[in-house]
């Protein structure tokens, strides 16, 4: 067996990786050379020297080298008598020659070439197909605006429909006639609830502490330090804990939902569900939405409590008040309605995060890159959506005088 792409023993390394080695000679003894000689039976392509990638053998075959050589029944004959080493470079060059010959109406006669080269060359078509460029349409700004509006409306509709399906599925499941497996629900509840306790706790504790710290310094100027209890309590209960917990869960659980569903899509797992007639809405959607919607309000309550404790710890070190006094002041200052407001918001945030993440996952492509894109989109949409929803809640609360 002849070696080939760079004989003798290690074609690969010498042919292409050899260039990596610093100080390795870059030119072989004989540089590759070629010429086209006219002849009675057609032109011949005379090759000499070493045709290797590293030796500079990647010269293109000039399309005009055949000039006005035209002729029916004539062939471009390869004369390889002077050929030394060779590798992919020679094949690449000869492919160019083969194409040029076909273009000029000449046959290509490579019988004088080493047999391995002939076999490789036989694989290569004389008229390669044009590379297929998929249609990549670049719309103008009007088209894009219209498209975005339509997509936005459609997605809102789909999300609402999914919310409706989930509610219906949850009701069915309550009556024991749903497709949701309790095991899936429990594992989702575990992931969306208890396993998030640590991160939610740490973040809320620090936020409560920061609020108390900043508040104390400012309130001290008005001798109103004791109102730091109201500041921390109301801020945590009404806004901070609800939003921070939702943002954490959007990143933690929303991203995971989107990645999981888009991977299932890629593995044809969702197709399999559909074929069996198991509704994706109740099998995939429902456990995700229900678990997050159940757990997030509880996480919010926990987060608020931890946030207030964070404020309490800072207040104890910086201000002259008894622990009991601090807690009494907190209970006096923070009304129950703040908790109810935050609790309700949390439920809606959670439903939105879960629905949006599932929707993004279901809409994703089927490749590994698409899974990454889906996870990113789920988190971004989740966070932006939460903030936007919070603004709506603020306006509503103002109008209702809550």
């Amino acid at each position: 067996m002849s070696p080939v792409l760079l004989p003798p023993a290690r074609p690969a390394l010498r042919a292409t990786c050899g260039a990596l080695r610093p100080g390795a000679p870059t030119m072989p003894a004989e540089a590759p050379a070629w010429s086209v000689q006219p002849g009675a039976q057609g032109p011949s392509l005379v090759l000499s020297g070493s045709w290797t990638v590293r030796g500079g053998g990647m010269t293109p075959f000039g399309a005009d080298a055949l000039g006005n050589e035209q002729g029916h029944g004539h062939a471009l004959r390869v004369d390889a008598a002077g050929l030394k080493d060779w590798d992919s470079a020679l094949i690449s060059f000869l492919w160019g020659a083969k194409q040029a010959a076909a273009h000029a109406g000449l046959d290509f006669d490579g019988t004088a070439l080493p047999a391995p080269a002939q076999r490789l060359l036989a694989l290569l078509p004389p008229n390669p197909a044009q590379s297929a460029h998929p249609e990549r349409h670049h719309p103008n700004i009007l088209e894009r605006t219209g498209e975005a509006t339509l997509v936005g409306l459609e997605e809102t509709g789909i999300l609402s429909e999914m919310a409706l399906q989930s509610t219906r599925g949850a009701l069915l499941a309550l009556r024991g006639r749903g497709f949701m497996r309790p095991k899936d629900l429990l594992s989702d509840i575990w992931n969306a609830g208890p396993s998030a306790l640590l991160i939610v706790g740490v973040v809320n504790f620090l936020l409560g502490a920061i609020l108390a710290f900043v508040g104390l310094i400012e309130l001290r100027r008005f001798a109103a330090e004791i109102y730091v209890t109201n500041l921390v309590g109301i801020a945590c209960a009404r806004e901070i804990s609800a939003i921070m917990t939702a943002i954490i869960m959007a990143g933690r659980t929303g991203g995971a939902y989107a990645a999981r569903i888009s991977t299932m899509l890629g593995n044809e797992e969702l197709d399999a569900l559909q074929v069996f007639g198991i509704p994706i809405s109740s099998y995939i959607l429902l456990p995700s939405v229900v678990s997050l919607s159940l757990m997030m309000p509880l996480l919010y309550l926990y987060g608020t409590l931890i946030g207030i404790i964070g404020g309490f710890v800072v207040a104890m070190t910086m201000m002259d008040v008894s622990p009991i006094g601090y807690w009494i002041s907190t209970f006096d200052g923070v009304e129950l309605k703040e908790f109810v407001f935050g609790f309700i918001k949390s439920f809606f945030f959670a439903s939105f995060i879960a629905l949006a993440a599932c929707r993004v996952g279901l809409k994703a492509g089927r490749s590994a890159a698409d899974v990454g894109i889906a996870a990113t989109r789920a988190v971004v949409i989740g966070i932006v959506g939460i903030i936007a929803m919070d603004a709506v809640f603020a306006v509503l609360a103002n109008a209702l005088g809550i």
């Binding site: 067996m1 002849s2 070696p3 080939v4 792409l5 760079l6 004989p7 003798p8 023993a9 290690r10 074609p11 690969a12 390394l13 042919a15 292409t16 990786c17 260039a19 990596l20 990638v53 990647m58 293109p60 390889a80 008598a81 050929l83 030394k84 080493d85 060779w86 590798d87 992919s88 094949i91 690449s92 492919w95 004088a112 070439l113 080493p114 047999a115 391995p116 080269a117 076999r119 490789l120 036989a122 694989l123 290569l124 078509p125 390669p128 197909a129 044009q130 590379s131 297929a132 460029h133 998929p134 492509g365 089927r366 490749s367 590994a368 890159a369 698409d370």
Partner: protein, 290 residues
Amino acid sequence: MAAPTPPSAGPANPQGAPTQTTPPAGETLIAVRDVTLAFGEKVIQRNVSFDLKRGSIFAVMGGSGCGKSTLLKSMIGLLRPTTGQIMVEGEDYWAQDEQRRTELNHRFGVLFQSGALWSSMTVGENVALPLEMFTTEPPDVIRRLVELKLGFVGMEQAIDLYPSEISGGMRKRAGLARAIALDPDILFFDEPSAGLDPMSSARLDDLILTLRDGLGATIVIVSHELPSLFAIADDGIFLDAVTHTPIAHGAPRTLRETCAIPEVTAFMNRLSSIPSSGPAPGQTPGKTEG
């Protein structure tokens, strides 16, 4: 397409063009010595020994779950054998440090079962990446090398398409183009025909033979596609899933005709159960241990 030529039949070139001496065909390229493969406590295969001869097409055969792919993984550096050696031209592969193993890996080309193309890159970029990483060639040379490799597998028109835009068979061929990007000495194929229609499968066999002859590569195929194995393989090993040991050595064609081990007979003749006749020791020339 020509029938498989024995590796020793070096092409007699009337022009005598290439001057370098070819290493003797039949020389051992990879020697697997008493290799045991296991995941934790679970032994997949034990006492696997064979020689991979230069220029041959070596088949790793056996039923599903017998450890064919695991053996392949240990040869391409993805799974360290529990015991035993894998000698690549006399060098103990797993005794080398990671850098040396990577260098050795540059001599390997691997075609994974489903192509394993990187989904965020076009087909052309997939083939170009190893060239960009491990050579210092300028971009236009790399582009032409990529076109050449894709041309070998008949995929030159798909250079700008993403893996998600092409069919399974095309992905496999593109994976093959990527496997030969660095002109490897040894090509490993994991189930090359799986999921292909009979014609595509036959074409892939032809392509493998042509690449073996054209590139001078040695080929290891993990497969249970019998027609394909009979057509191209000229040596092989049969792994048994029950005893977790290799039970026969030899070319699939020879094993089909001469091997009397019931498991092998059943496999080679597509029998649905293992024939009841007991093993006939001594009748099988290629038999090692049972």
